[in-house]
């Protein structure tokens, strides 16, 4: 009974045999040497199987068939990989009004796109990406307005918008934006008050703007405070109350200066010394 060898033993025996060892030397003294000798000898019998080259005619026939098939594959390959056919491009016939039409079309597209963007910016809130575009446009409008009364009227309108922005942001729990909107609201009110009190002519237009200013500045940030309270934002709530407190004193002086409050008791509260304007963010 032969002891079975392992694949590794067989490979090592074959390797030693190729290096010139005798059959017995290649298989060694392992218990499986008997089987290994038979297996190595069998492998060598396979190696000795007569292997002949192809007769010249057969070789050439096979070669011709192979190369002919290669040509067919080549044709198919070229067909699959060729570049897509492109028709030659001829210039389009030129109409005299063609450029005018193209320009008009571009203008219409620009107007529509610009109007859409402006509308979207105009409706945006402080937490929107378009909000800076909105405030920039408003500052440009203010800068281009030269008449002080008209400018004050615009500032009153903007103050009203900032107040609504503050209420919206407080409802969303965005304390930082709430404070900045409310700060802008008070700034616009101060600026409008300063411009109106600096006017000597109190005509109907002046009175109309003043009445709107009085109405807008009489708003109290109750909703703002409630929104921040609901979101437990005590930090920004404190800032809002401080802004409100700061404006209260200016508001009284403004009333006197605009002729809607009791006369001033000190020179600093006279009609001719309105609250100082503050920068608008």
């Amino acid at each position: 009974m032969l002891v079975e060898s392992t694949p590794k033993q067989l490979e090592e025996a074959l390797s030693r045999r190729r290096q010139g060892a005798s059959l017995a030397g290649a298989t060694g003294l392992t218990p499986a040497a008997g089987e290994l000798e038979h297996l190595v000898a069998l492998a060598e019998r396979i190696e000795r199987l007569p292997a002949e080259l192809a007769p010249p005619g057969a070789r050439e026939r096979a070669r011709s068939r192979f190369l002919a098939a290669g040509d067919r594959h080549r044709a198919s390959w070229v067909h699959q990989h060729r570049l897509p056919h492109r028709a030659a491009r001829h210039p389009a016939p030129h109409h005299p009004l063609r450029n005018l039409f193209l320009l008009g079309t571009a203008l219409v597209i620009a107007l529509v796109a610009g109007s859409g963007l402006a509308l979207a910016a105009g409706l945006s809130e402080p937490d929107s990406q378009l909000y800076p575009a909105k405030t920039f446009g408003q500052r440009v409008v203010l800068a281009l307005t030269t008449d002080p009364v008209t400018k004050a009227g615009t500032e009153v309108d903007l103050a009203n918008q900032r107040f609504q922005d503050a209420e919206g942001m407080a409802a969303k729990g965005k304390g930082g934006l709430t404070v900045s909107s409310l700060s802008a609201y008070y700034s616009y009110l101060r600026d409008a008050g300063a411009k109106l009190s600096g006017r000597d002519v109190h005509d109907a237009r002046w009175k109309q703007v003043r009445d709107r200013l009085i109405a807008i500045k009489s708003k109290t940030p109750t909703e703002v405070e409630r929104g921040l309270t609901e979101h437990n934002d005590t930090v920004h709530l404190g800032e809002v109350r401080q802004l409100e407190k700061d404006f209260a004193a200016d508001s009284k002086r403004m009333d006197v200066a605009l002729g809607v409050g009791p006369p001033a008791k000190s020179p600093g509260n006279s009609v001719n010394s309105p609250p100082s304007p503050s920068p608008v963010p």
Binding site: L42, A43, I46, A51, A54, R59, H73
Partner: protein
Amino acid sequence: MEDDMPPAPITPQAAADERELVIRAQRYEPEALEEIYDTYFDAVYRAIFARVGDHTVAEAVTGQAFLTALEILPKYHRRPGGLHPWLQYLAARELRAHGWRPTPGRHPVHEADELRGALAELTPDQQEVLTMRFLVGMPVEAVAAGTGRRRGQVRALQHRALQALLRLMAARDAA
């Protein structure tokens, strides 16, 4: 038989040359196909002839193996052993598909016919490995690369194949 083998592309330059050859052959450039045929046909033919001992069968099987190689060349990914093990593998598969068997009932003329008959009774995988290892003379690594097996699997398969062949030969001798 190892002396008759085409040089294996083992050096970096040879490997790079063969990579370039394969890329051109995958575009079916005639010169590249001729180079492949002229380099490897004889080695593949001799291995098949050693298995069957018949020029007609060897010509048919080898020719068909090269035509199959043309078909699947675009999908060929270079393996460590290069083109040669791949072509030998295709030829061994083609021999199996050809259905060649020793003529039944014919008394072996000599030792080679008896061995070929026993080889033909092995499983296809065993026949492939023994052909590539001992008829073509490929190292285990090349056979592994050509047949998509690990080296340990090739060694184990080779061991089982020789053991089975030994039993078959003993049975034939007893008969």
